[in-house]
Symmetry: C2
Subunit: 187 residues, 2 copies
């Protein structure tokens, strides 16, 4: 199997804070490029916050030109209300990735933790520490940025595993050419 | 109280189909401008569909220059999984409205039905028929477009009611100036 794209953008969408992390896979090594968080200001309206999130993620994509994106699958054992609110931020992140034409891979949270720390039940702080050490960062990344970097690392490792001939559960998804829009205007 | 903005964009976000409807409020009359639906093509990826939805709604906003948006509040008694999926489409719609700087008003489904048909429990087909008659449309609009037009009509009528000095539950929301973005790059 081919190694696939080399620059991976991980996203950890959240209703308050969205983390992002960019890594390169170079000759089987995973190298840090950038990471950060997008935090909406409390005084913005819900729509204004989501609009800001979309634009900021477009700027991240524009700045780093990733080849592929990796996003955590959502754990939906929470309430319908919180699932709706989380879904809103997640939809905006996916829309920004989709509009940029990036293939999006999704991984279960346990798979990401397993891939990065060796345990599917690792605590947040463990993920932060392992990500810091693994990417040789000078400081511990914020939890949401660490989760985004972990998603990117997970995808990078899935590619390495695929090269070794081990069965991978990564499922690339195709891109659409455009929606069907039906409009009726006043005569 | 002032009459407020005159061109209203109603949106009915859905995981498969999103409806939109534009009306003008002119001298207390509500006049149809346009309506339609955005339907994602089945072969597009989830992210690709959401990206298409965002771009299409931006085109609708660009084409019609609404002053304000009206969106149905979500009824979350359904499952967390469907709330998440619906939330994704809803987040994209709100992001497009927010990025365009539109104030977004939200109304409960029963309030929209009550406002348009006189009954908070009206069936979908009743909403479609009343919207058609009310806006003097030559054909019955699709259910999602009719719901979007109904949301726009509801907001237009809330403004009229406000003018009459009746207490209104419309709550304008402010706009944010921009998110807080923290980025760490590789040195």
């Amino acid at each position: 199997m081919s190694e696939g794209p080399a620059r991976i953008l991980g996203i950890d969408p959240g209703s308050q804070v969205t983390g992002f992390g960019v890594v390169d896979r170079v000759d089987g090594q995973i190298v840090h490029v950038a990471h950060g968080t997008v935090r909406s200001r409390a005084e913005a309206s819900p729509a204004g916050r989501l609009g800001d999130l979309y634009r900021t993620l477009c700027e991240v994509i524009e700045a780093h030109h990733p080849d592929v994106a990796s996003v955590e699958q959502v754990f939906v054992s929470r309430s319908a209300r919180s699932a709706l609110i989380l879904g809103q931020a997640r939809g905006v992140a996916l829309a920004a990735l989709g509009a940029a034409g990036l293939p999006v891979h999704e991984y279960a949270p346990t798979r990401i933790k397993q891939s990065v720390t060796g345990s599917g039940r690792a605590a947040k702080i463990q993920v932060q520490r392992v990500v810091r050490r693994r990417l040789e960062l000078s400081a511990t990344p914020a939890a949401d940025a660490a989760d985004a970097l972990a998603a990117a690392i997970c995808h990078a490792q899935a590619g390495v595993i695929a090269e070794l001939g081990v069965r991978s559960r990564v499922r690339p998804r195709g891109r659409g050419r455009g929606p069907v829009v039906r409009v009726r205007r006043a005569p």
